[in-house]
């Protein structure tokens, strides 16, 4: 069979190939072309719940959300942080082109209030994305948030610790870990089916750069910095 005949067969509407994704509405570009390539809507799902599991603390989960968040706020949509574990450092956000006048911080220790606040923000037409930190929540609560996101047409990024991993209603589940000084993102679940190979990213290229400039390397166990006794 020649290639042209094969193409006509493969392009037939009744033929579905395992590697092809079901059509998904266009998402919010993450700003990392490598990640966009493996996400069904070529970006963060809009009007849906995304769960991001971080393997360990401090390995760059928030960094992943920054380019998309910056673009949202520049477009006049609001970005809501619900129960952030620390203060998002305003100069660092501004440096990543976030419009701080479009940032809303919600701080409460009560779980119900956090879920309620996230739901209100998702339903509001002004809010483009909600970033929320949550460890333990009932499946029902997440389903509610998913519905609110669908209704408001906004994105919810839920940051969770790696220990909790039961199946959830999230449209997209990512696992973030670090190896070889690079951040590795694995897709645990995506709409449309199929699981792509993990993507490795360098989220802090400037650190490598300045480390090299200082004559240092991340792998170097004995940094030679003046005044540091090792």
């Amino acid at each position: 069979m020649n290639a042209a005949a094969l193409d006509t067969v493969l392009n037939h509407p009744a033929i579905w190939r395992g590697s092809a994704l079901a059509p998904v509405p266009r998402g919010l570009a993450t700003g990392f072309p490598e990640i966009d390539a493996v996400l069904p809507g070529e970006g963060w799902p809009v009007g849906a719940l995304t769960e991001i599991y971080a393997e360990r603390k401090g390995i760059g989960e928030l960094q992943l959300a920054m380019p998309a968040a910056a673009r949202l706020t520049q477009a006049g949509r609001w970005l809501t942080f619900v129960a952030a574990p620390h203060v998002p450092y305003a100069p660092a956000l501004a440096e990543r082109c976030l419009d701080l006048a479009r940032v809303l911080m919600v701080n409460t220790t009560v779980l119900e209030e956090r879920l309620w606040a996230a739901e209100q923000a998702l339903r509001a037409t002004c809010c483009g994305a909600v970033l929320m930190w949550l460890d333990h929540a009932h499946e029902r609560a997440l389903r509610r948030l998913q519905l609110a996101a669908e209704e408001g047409g906004s994105s919810l990024l839920l940051f969770r610790s790696a220990r909790v991993a039961p199946a959830t209603t999230a449209a997209l589940r990512l696992h973030v870990s670090r190896s070889d000084n690079r951040t590795v993102i694995r897709v645990l679940k995506r709409r449309g089916g199929g699981l792509p190979a993990p993507v490795a990213l360098d989220l802090h290229p400037w650190i490598r750069f300045s480390a090299r400039a200082a004559g240092l390397c991340a792998a170097d166990a004995t940094p030679r910095i003046p005044g540091v006794v090792c």
């Binding site: 971080a54 360990r56 603390k57 401090g58 390995i59 760059g60 989960e61 928030l62 960094q63 006049g76 609001w78 574990p85 620390h86 203060v87 998002p88 450092y89 305003a90 100069p91 660092a92 956000l93 501004a94 440096e95 701080l100 006048a101 940032v103 809303l104 911080m105 919600v106 701080n107 409460t108 220790t109 309620w116 606040a117 209100q120 923000a121 509001a124 037409t125 002004c126 809010c127 930190w133 949550l134 460890d135 610790s161 670090r178 190896s179 000084n181 989220l203 802090h204 400037w206 650190i207 480390a211 200082a214 240092l216 991340a218 940094p223 910095i225 005044g227 540091v228 006794v229 090792c230």
Partner: protein, 496 residues
Amino acid sequence: MLWLALRLPSLPLDIFRRAAQSDEAFAISSGEGNRASIIACNNRARGKGVQAGMPVVAAMALDAQLHVVAREADAEQAALEHIAAWALQFTPVVSIALPDTVLLEIEGSLHLFGGLNGLRRQVANGMSALGYQAVIAIAPTPLAAQWFCSANVPVRIRHADALHVSLAQLPASVLDLTPDAARLLEDLGIATIADCLALPRSGLARRIGPRAFDLLDRAAGRLPDPRPRYAPPTVYSASQPLPAPAQEAEMLLFAARQLLAELCGYLSATAQGVQRLQLVLSHHGREPTQLTLSLVAASRDAEHLLSVLRECLNATQLPSPAIAIALRSELLLPVAARSASLLPDAARQAEAATQLVERLRARLGEEGVVGLRTMDDYRPERGWHACEPGTPSSAATATDSRPLWLLTAPRPLDENNAAPCYEGRLSLLAGPERIETGWWDDALVERDYFVAANPGQALLWIYRERHAGGKWYLHGFFAALSLCIAGYSLLIAAVH
């Protein structure tokens, strides 16, 4: 001129019952002691045989469960004034005709509100939202509109010819005659206005008095009929007795909804928005509970005010059930009217944002919902500040890359052989960046900052005090920590 008359036939009853959700037998009485008689009752009471004009004792004999309340003429007049203020959103010319009618001059408003039928429908829907039963009639003269209302004929007449025909069919009783004159007309077999007009005018005027023909000329538009214009008060203040003592937020909200609808009508009539609103809940034998709603921006959106009030009431524990609810506007500000537009515009988006902030704050408090801004200071802990959401920041000072998370209080690091440790020995990736400033105030900072990685490859922002024997501190993370209780308390401390 075109007048819309709004008559409230059961006003004495409605001022007590409009906040009621249950349907218990209820009647209004007037008069003292044994001579007290029923003047109005609801359908439930009517079903038991209670009628207007019946002595109270007789009504009680028919239904022992009947709830009888004395008439409150002052409250009725206040209610009429609130309706008049609310009606100002439809036209600038509103007049009150005691005891139970409000008149609106609507000729100039027809186009804006979608024609005669559209306007009439909006007024009717508005009245049922306020909880009043109303009869609406439209006629070219105010008196004719009033007469059609009191004869319970909901007409829509625009032209004088049609008016004369319809007026002629009204009963003669609308002429407001003395009892003697009324009896005379009855004896003469005169039942309608048409019968009056068929008789010689001078002769009949001598017998029943010239006033009746005066009124007829006014109703027909042959004599001028000036009406006093109603001027709205500068402050909205209304109270509403509750049909039954209530403690649950939802029951209170039901009554508050009607007051808010009135308030919003008044606000759009006066082109204002309310920024601070006071809600007073009265109790039996206790000090009233006062709640103050402060909004970020002045608003006259009833649904929004209601949602803020709902959160406020849910967060408040009432000492005992409330028996009356009162609403008072504390701070009114001019608000531009919103033009109808097909596409969502920036103004509406900004409004949605302030509404979101207000809703969140009503439940979580002022300090629970904040914005962020940068400050012009090299000291990292002073480089940011919590602020009112939406405050524009000063232009970002160009600095080297900073971590996304900052600890409000630097955390001392363990040291192993003078090398900093955080879940393992730290390796320094970049630095030092020296920050030495603040000698002019009490917070002198002399630090060398480094980017460090621990064996788990988490990236940290750490510093060492510059003075001799300086200790190592952790000041930030380049990415989020997973949840830890200490983190929350830090964040909350920062916000306070």
